[in-house]
């Protein structure tokens, strides 16, 4: 409360608060404040100008304990998970069945299986994570997979990409093409065309 009159009625407290708020907002700017912001905005501008190479948009999602990114132009739909129907006589663990997306029956695959991601416990994620069904591919070569969490689209320049760790790079059958810095995490950026080709092959 204020140091002036010991008045405890709610009415007068509100007046005092708004007066204080007014004083706070009307206070003179500290020295150098304007210059600091001017530098900030000017700097951002310069950085954007530097990134001459076209920025890339990716979809960032999580499978088990791994965060991954796929080129956004490959993603046709992100929707709630829904009931799928398994296919008889399919012994591979990749094809999980068929699923109805907007009245079309799509093959649902376990992408984690293709990428060799073990069923690790998800790294404790902040807040509530919603599982999603992601549809990727082009025209009649589409396929759906289950993602444990979808962050959304992320735009990045080439400067955000790092080389793969050598253990991944040496793997002849890798799908990751680079590691992407995102929000303090290392996200595996997947090679979309290679992934789709592998999916096509494994469906046969």
């Amino acid at each position: 409360m204020t140091s002036r009159t010991p008045d405890n009625s709610p009415e007068s407290a509100r007046t005092a608060d708004s007066a204080r708020a007014g004083r706070l907002l009307d206070r003179p700017l500290p020295p150098g404040y304007r210059a600091e912001w001017a530098r900030h905005f000017a700097g951002a501008r310069v950085q954007a100008g530097e990134a001459d190479a076209p920025a890339d948009t990716v979809l960032i999602f999580r499978l088990g304990g791994e965060w991954l990114a796929l080129p956004a132009d490959l993603v046709t739909e992100i929707t709630e998970p829904r009931r799928s129907h398994s296919l008889p006589h399919r012994r591979d663990r990749l094809v999980r069945g068929i699923v109805n997306v907007r009245g079309e029956l799509l093959v649902k695959i376990a992408l984690a299986e293709l990428l060799g991601i073990e069923g690790q416990e998800p790294a404790a994620s902040q807040g509530t994570a919603f599982a999603r069904l992601v549809v990727i591919g082009r025209a009649d070569r589409r396929v759906a997979f289950h993602a444990d969490e979808v962050h959304g689209l992320h735009r990045h320049g080439p400067e955000a990409l790092r080389a793969l760790p050598v253990t991944v790079d040496k793997n002849a059958a890798r799908f990751a093409s680079a590691v992407l810095d995102w929000d303090g995490r290392a996200v595996g950026r997947l090679d979309g065309a290679g992934l789709l080709d592998a999916v096509d092959r494994s469906l046969a």
């Binding site: 296919l87 068929i98 009245g103």
Partner: protein, 762 residues
């Protein structure tokens, strides 16, 4: 066109078909010329179209059309020679000419000859006016354009048109031509599928409104209960406090609640209306989308008229085709698949059915035979009749043929009814003709027709009247896209069994199941029905062991029937058939998929496949029935090796070597084949080549190393490549052993195999 006989009609049909294409070219050219009046290519295209139309019109003696086309051609030729510059007025008049041609070709306007002539005169006048508006000095041209069409049509022109005409006859006429019906448009199969998907989805979404409205109705009931509770509270207030603050607060609450109830009531009524409207709309949309798969019958069969005529001539007969019910709608898929069987039946009718002209004359019939091709909808089925007015089928002769071919003894043949006797015509290899002709009589006709008709889930019957003709009746489903099925539950998931493949369904007390040699069976009529679980056939989980009753679907016929055990009957459904992703290939026992009312996917079982699977399992002695797995475990199993190599020699060499040492060997012809094999069967070791089509050995090994179950399976690479980096590459991918074919000795291979997995007998 004063004598409207049938041949004239079909010629007019032809002209209309040509007009449809040519007027498109003409209109396109004219529109382009409006922007660029001197473009040589467009002038050429438009002139050519007008010229062709003039030629065609002359062939069928459609003189008004000749006049119009001629006038149009004259203008265009003049423009081509540069003696005339096309103006907007010219283009307007010429476009009017295109419309006029369509009008002339329309059979409806035929009767009204005077009106058409007036219109033509109007057109020519308009053309003249456009001419006058242009530069001077072309009046001579104009006069000629307006003159009666006395100019001889060049022979080249008529020849071109005639060949174009026959082309149009031979090929499937464009969908835009329906013989006087509505205009048709083409649409890709993919967008049709998508349209159907979206329409189905909107129906499913619309159906969700009803449960939602019901849940609101429950909310309304709760409001009612709340109001009652408030009234009870008020009634229990102590006397004298009816006007106190409690009572006032209660009255306020009661009032607010009443308002809430009222609003809810209104919203519910709105929701009800919305539900009705959107469900109705979605239903119509869905129905219309399904119906748009229909094509008029005539579209698919018009080309037969010419074939019938030509074939009859080739056989020294005379025949014409009479198409009845040409506008009857038929599913595109069925129409496509009917082509072969109908062709067969028509050939049969001409060759077997129709008599020679001499015989027909002797029998007092017209020389020209008539073959009627009729389509109609009847009791939810499509009926197609192929009937000839020939001599019918000689039943005594058929009886003799049946006996002569030892299909039945004489006494049996004598006892056969007419219908039963005619059934023999559908037996494979059966023919009544003594001589094999070019056309038919090889005895491969009717059985092929029957099997093709069955493929579209239809039936075919034959009827004959001596001296009056033979008729074949094909009964087909109206559409292939809708199928009637029994929905069952197998391993916790729904499957749809087409009703056509089900003999009957029954529920039996589990106690009635008996076993023989460990195989369960139940009494069914006077036979013992062997049981097989759907789970085992489909490789999907285990049948439910609890419950007092078994749900059985009887499939197959006679002694070859099986009692298919399913978990539950979910009811009968009409499903819209949806193809599965073609990349999956043919899935054993499954024909297609569909969506249920709630949008969940369901698989449609391929009943023929399922029967074969049951036969295969039964003969392999692998059937377990509903009792659960047999207790015996395979003792002393031999070690199994999969050999993957695209070279037959290497593959066989390796196989013989390994088998010689007691291993059981499976083979695969390339990496893809190997990948499939290794996933579907259990192996102890894989021996693979590197360079193979479809999928090479390195990729195969890499895939296996990524698969949780196959990760531990030992892999040996055998390759011609003996460089160190090739070896390194193979081992890097995850192979356990790298052997070069150059050093290919049996000891080396067998030694390596033994090192990896031990001797054959475990």
């Amino acid at each position: 066109m004063s004598t409207p006989d049938l041949s004239q009609f079909s010629m007019l049909d032809l002209f209309r078909a040509e007009l449809e294409t040519q007027s498109q070219a003409l209109t396109g050219g004219l529109l382009a010329l409006e922007r660029d009046p001197t473009s040589a290519t467009h002038l050429e295209a438009a002139m050519r179209a007008a010229h062709s139309l003039k030629g065609s019109a002359r062939i069928i003696e459609l003189m008004p059309a000749v006049r119009v086309a001629h006038a149009m051609e004259e203008i265009l030729v003049a423009a081509q020679h540069g003696t005339l510059r096309l103006t907007r007025g010219h283009i307007d008049a010429l476009l009017g000419g295109v419309d006029l041609l369509a009008l002339i070709a329309d059979p409806a306007t035929e009767a009204d000859g005077a009106a058409v002539t007036a219109q033509i005169d109007g057109f020519l006048a308009a053309l003249a006016a456009a001419e006058a508006g242009g530069t001077a000095g072309e009046t001579a041209e104009l006069a000629e354009a307006g003159a009666p069409p006395s100019a001889p049509v060049s022979t080249v022109a008529s020849a071109v048109s005639a060949s174009q005409a026959s082309e149009a006859f031979g090929r499937d006429l464009p969908a835009g031509e329906t013989g006087g019906g509505e205009r048709m448009i083409r649409i890709t199969a993919q967008s049709m599928t998508r349209l159907l998907g979206l329409a189905g989805e909107s129906l499913i979404e619309a159906r969700r409104l009803r449960p939602f409205a019901d849940s609101l109705t429950r909310l309304r009931r709760q409001h009612g209960a709340l109001a009652k509770a408030l009234d009870a509270v008020r009634a229990s207030l102590p006397p004298g406090t009816e006007d106190g603050p409690t009572a006032q607060a209660l009255a306020l609450a009661r009032g607010t609640l009443e308002q809430g109830r009222h609003q809810l009531e209104e919203r519910l009524a709105e929701l009800d209306a919305l539900d009705r409207r959107s469900t109705d709309l979605a239903n119509r949309l869905y129905g219309e989308t399904l119906a748009s798969r229909m094509r008029p019958f005539e579209d698919g069969v018009r080309a037969y008229a010419r074939r019938v005529r030509d074939l009859a001539h080739a056989l020294g007969k005379s025949a014409r085709l009479d198409i009845v019910g040409g506008s009857t709608g038929i599913d595109r898929d069925i129409l496509d698949q009917l082509d072969a069987p109908l062709g067969h039946l028509l050939r049969n009718a001409i060759d077997h059915g129709l008599e020679t002209p001499e015989r027909r004359r002797a029998a007092g019939k017209p020389e020209e035979g008539v073959i009627r091709l009729e389509a109609r909808h009847h009791a939810g089925l499509l009926q197609i009749i192929v009937a000839d007015d020939g001599g019918g089928i000689d039943l005594p002769e058929l009886r003799r043929a049946v006996v002569a071919r030892r299909l039945i003894d004489e006494a049996g043949a004598a006892a056969l009814s007419e219908a039963e006797l005619l059934e023999f015509l559908f037996l494979p290899g059966f023919s009544m003709k003594e001589t094999v002709s070019d056309v038919s009589g090889r005895g491969v006709g009717l059985d092929a027709v029957q099997s093709m008709v069955r493929q579209v889930r239809g039936t075919v019957r034959v009827a004959a009247r001596p001296g009056e003709g033979t008729s074949f009746l094909l009964e087909l489903p109206l559409t292939l896209s809708v199928i009637r099925t029994l929905l069952v539950e197998i391993g916790g998931e729904p499957y749809a069994l087409p009703l056509a493949g089900i003999a009957r369904t029954l529920k039996l007390p589990r106690a009635q199941v008996e076993t023989l040699e460990g195989r369960p069976h139940v009494g069914f009529g006077d036979q013992r029905l062997g049981l097989v679980t759907a789970h085992e056939l489909l490789g999907q989980g285990e049948a439910r062991a609890q419950g007092d009753e078994l749900c059985l679907v009887v499939i197959g016929a006679g002694t070859g029937s099986y009692g298919l055990v399913v978990d539950d009957f979910l009811g009968e459904r009409e499903l819209v058939v949806r193809p599965l992703d073609p990349r999956l290939g043919k899935i054993k026992d499954i024909s297609a998929a569909a969506l249920m009312e709630d949008g969940a996917p369901v698989l449609i079982v391929d009943m023929d496949d399922l029967l074969r699977s049951a036969d295969k399992l039964a003969s392999a002695g692998a059937l377990r029935g509903p009792q659960g797995p047999r207790a015996s475990a395979p003792a002393n199993r031999r070690k199994r090796v999969l050999v993957v190599d695209d070279s037959l020699t290497v593959r066989e060499l390796e196989r013989k070597l390994l088998e010689h040492h007691g291993y059981e060997v499976g083979v695969a012809v390339d990496g893809m084949d190997g990948w499939n094999a290794v996933r579907s069967e259990a192996y102890d070791l894989m021996v693979t080549d590197v360079d193979m089509p479809r999928m090479d050995g390195i990729e195969l090994v890499t895939l296996m190393r990524r698969d949780a179950r196959l990760r531990a399976l030992p892999v040996m690479i055998v390759s011609y490549k003996d460089r160190e980096e090739d070896r390194r590459r193979g081992l890097d991918a995850g192979a356990d052993y790298y052997l070069t074919k150059g050093s290919f000795h049996d000891e080396t291979l067998i030694q390596a195999v033994t090192d990896l997995i031990g001797p054959a007998a475990g």
